[in-house]
């Protein structure tokens, strides 16, 4: 979904004037890729700990809070 957003920004940045691009869209895309990387890194770290606790990564098993 983040990639869809990035693509959207790039498309819109070159949409207005033919042959020229708008810098804001590109700046935003670069930063959003960086932020996406941070979230994934943190997500994987939490996933690792989840595996240590549950012994599986099956999301159907990761629902002790529901009980």
């Amino acid at each position: 979904m983040l990639n869809a957003v990035n693509l959207n920004f790039i498309t819109f940045s070159s949409y207005g004037v033919f042959g020229a691009t708008h810098p804001l869209g590109h700046a935003f895309t670069v930063i959003s890729i960086g932020i996406g990387g941070c979230i994934i890194a943190l997500g994987l770290a939490i996933t690792l700990h989840a595996y240590r606790h549950y012994g599986t990564l099956d999301v159907r098993e990761l629902r002790r809070l529901k009980e």
């Binding site: 979904m1 983040l2 869809a4 957003v5 959207n8 920004f9 498309t11 819109f12 949409y15 207005g16 708008h22 810098p23 804001l24 869209g25 700046a27 935003f28 930063i31 959003s32 932020i35 941070c38 979230i39 943190l42 997500g43 939490i46 996933t47 700990h49 989840a50 606790h53 549950y54 990761l62 629902r63 002790r64 809070l65």
Partner: protein, 497 residues
């Protein structure tokens, strides 16, 4: 580089790990927490020194970075943002004082203080941002810090699962928000809030604008705990360490409410007919979900988390009315709820610190063995029930009367019904803590450490002061709401640059 407030917070955030190294050399365990508390106190002092005019006269300051708008990024500091900054710094300070004792200072917990300060910095950045680009970057600083803090006690299963759930849901919410922003950028070629406001001023609602509105309400609404998207909130709040629950509930969900106020009131004021009624329906749904679920809980932190959801419903109802009085009620309720919910989570944190349980059944009768903590808890609960001399009464009254004034009588009646529901579980908490027989666990508990009590007493004192003498605080909230309703000063400040 930015503004004195953000500069000070950023410097302290970046230097905290360095101080941590120093603290290990000199073997002083509390040095880092002290440093964080000092940083927050210093920033709180900077607030009146630099921005008194922003508070009292609604002066808007624009700070440009890199290049001028509409392309360059900037910060816009107005009464609305400053009001939120005051709340965040107050809660942050109380929580960092509380953390002296609560978080065991050992080498495995290095990140805690840095992340806490990073989260506060992110929230302050969000409310001072003048364009959605800056807003989004600070938003993610806040979110990433909070994911790590929720899953902080990683040696237990519950925080890990709650953090995982929170991360997945909130990241999806942030992506939805970003999607909305990308369409805004596509339609106007800018992300500056003032320029967006000016370029949409004359336009009528097209399909694209409804799409953007939906995405932005869903994105911010998820973080604000709006009803169908609230599932992460009770898990995250109850699994996080208690001081972090206080920040999440007292400040972070308010940042999302701020985001909604900023975007809806500044960029989409002409579509109030569409989003007003939608948001009001979701607000009522949120209240009912929160209050009814809170009635069923045994886990005390989960109960408070559901009550947070209900209170977000009141705040969203005030916003959906969209009038000056409605927004004043919302802003005032944001302030009151931040204080009271932080107070409740901190005093419950003291119970949990001594007894290691969160079950209301096992905590029964703890009022006898921990009288001061329970007394402070009782002040918070009485405020939460909306009983007149305390602060919640005034803000709830403002929202209800604003609803009646704006011709939204059914919603006001539903809100009053919800206030009665919330009084029911508040009385149940008081009855359990004070009147029931003590259990084996609650009998053995001893009074909480002094430093934890100090932080809690500050918050309790403020909520009593506001309850008996609400007018200066109500005026401050009124100024903040005025800045949202009357946008001209904000727009002028940007266009003058």
């Amino acid at each position: 580089m930015f503004t004195p407030l953000l500069d000070s917070l950023l410097v302290f955030t970046i230097t905290t790990p360095l101080i941590n190294v120093l603290a290990q050399r000199v073997a002083s365990k509390k040095l880092v927490t002290g440093y964080v508390a000092f940083g927050l106190a210093l920033t709180l002092l900077l607030l009146p020194i630099y921005y008194m005019e922003g508070f009292t006269q609604g002066k808007v300051t624009t700070i440009l970075n890199l290049s001028a708008p509409p392309i360059g990024v900037c910060l816009e500091i107005d009464a609305l943002g400053l009001f939120m900054v005051l709340i965040f710094l107050l809660i942050g300070l109380a929580v960092s004082i509380y953390s002296f004792q609560h978080i065991e200072p050992n080498p495995g917990l290095i990140g805690y203080n840095t992340l806490l300060l990073g989260m506060i910095t992110g929230m302050v950045g969000v409310v001072l941002a003048g364009d959605l680009f800056t807003l989004f970057i600070f938003w993610e600083i806040m979110c990433v810090s909070s994911y790590a803090l929720v899953a902080f006690r990683k040696e237990e299963w519950e925080p890990v699962e709650a953090g995982y759930k929170y991360l997945i849901m909130s990241a999806a919410g942030a992506a939805t928000l970003l999607f909305g922003m990308s369409f805004l950028y596509g339609m106007t070629g800018t992300l500056n809030i003032a320029y967006l406001s000016a370029s949409f001023a004359q336009s009528e609602g097209t399909v694209w604008m409804y799409l953007i509105l939906t995405m932005i309400i869903a994105g911010f609404g998820l973080q604000a705990g709006m009803a169908p998207l609230h599932m992460w909130l009770p898990d995250a709040h109850s699994a996080a360490p208690s001081p972090i629950s206080a920040v999440l509930s007292g400040a972070m969900v308010k940042t999302a409410a701020y985001g909604l106020i900023r975007v809806l009131m500044f960029v989409f004021p002409m579509m109030h007919g569409a989003w007003g009624i939608t948001l009001a329906i979701f607000a009522v749904l949120t209240m009912f979900t929160g209050n009814l679920m809170a009635l069923l809980q045994d886990d005390i932190k989960r109960l408070l988390a559901f009550s947070t959801i209900a209170n977000m419903g009141y705040i969203l109802l005030g916003l959906s009315i969209g009038s000056l009085r409605g927004l004043t009620g919302s802003m005032f309720h944001i302030f009151n709820h931040a204080l009271v919910k932080a107070l409740l989570f901190l005093s419950v944190g003291s119970f949990v610190y001594r007894t290691k349980t969160r079950s209301l059944k096992e905590l029964a009768g703890i009022g006898r063995s921990m009288p001061i903590s329970s007394g402070l808890f009782a002040i918070g609960v009485i405020a939460l029930a909306g009983i007149p001399p305390l602060n919640f009464f005034w803000s709830e009254l403002t929202i209800v009367t604003a609803g009646v004034e704006a011709g939204m009588l059914p919603f006001s009646i539903l809100m009053i019904l919800n206030l009665a529901l919330s009084a029911a579980y508040c009385l149940r908490m008081i009855q359990t803590i004070f009147l029931k027989e003590t259990t084996a666990i609650s009998e053995k508990a001893t009074e909480a450490p002094k430093i934890m009590l100090v932080a809690t007493i500050i918050l309790a004192f403020l909520s009593i002061v506001i309850g008996f003498y609400p007018s200066p605080f109500q005026d401050m909230a009124g100024n903040a709401a005025g800045a949202a309703v009357d946008r001209q000063a904000y727009l002028d400040a940007v266009f003058r640059e």
